[in-house]
Symmetry: C2
Subunit: 124 residues, 2 copies
């Protein structure tokens, strides 16, 4: 980086002058990534889709029937969704009934929309 052959650069372009301020800093990118990761899996999206569609709690056997994976895998993804605060469960007899936390899902959606909004500029 001693002698920069500036002549080769095209007029409007820039190189090796890292004075740009990104619209997202590293911490924001990391946080947005965590939010996106929770949703970035087809099984988790489908589980959420079933729960959102139901007005009443849904038992695991119904959730299991709605996704193409076995029961331990369903249990695993439900655990991730619970850790993310997006669903809650309660036991009733032998069954475990899950329901969406619609407020938390809406907050996650808004955080993602805000983060992507910074990226997307001003288009819609």
């Amino acid at each position: 980086m001693k002698t920069l052959p500036l002549l080769e650069r095209r007029p409007g372009e820039r190189c090796c002058q890292p004075d740009l301020v990104p619209v997202l800093d590293a911490a924001e990118a990391e946080a947005l990534t965590n939010d996106l990761d929770v949703l970035a899996h087809p099984v988790r999206l489908q589980l959420l889709a079933v729960l959102v569609a139901s007005e009443v709690p849904v038992c695991v056997c119904d959730l299991e029937a709605s996704v193409p994976v076995k029961q331990p895998t369903v249990s695993h993804h439900l655990k991730l969704l619970r850790a993310a605060g997006l669903v809650e469960s309660e036991k009733a007899g032998l069954w475990a009934y899950y329901h969406v936390r619609r407020d938390e899902l809406a907050r996650l959606r808004r955080r993602i929309a805000a983060g992507l909004g910074r990226l997307g500029g001003n288009h819609g």
Copy 2:
């Protein structure tokens, strides 16, 4: 699934009657996952953030300075972003200049917003 001990179910709840119609079907969940995956990485988000912040094309050496990974990794992520249609590059002398395709980024944002909108119900 022969004899269902219905007595144990709580009144408003449902079990083993998979007649729910999810707000997202399997194909939609898969498509949304693909869209989310492109953005669900801190390095790619930061690269996009730098490109969005610049009115003019940015050379790789500047991009490399803005993320905590080595040059081959930057090149790898830029390739993924290019494959997703979110950025374009042009060579000028030794340098490669990248710029965002703001229209494509906005379309991706809108697809994600639409998908999450189906999930989120009517909040915000």
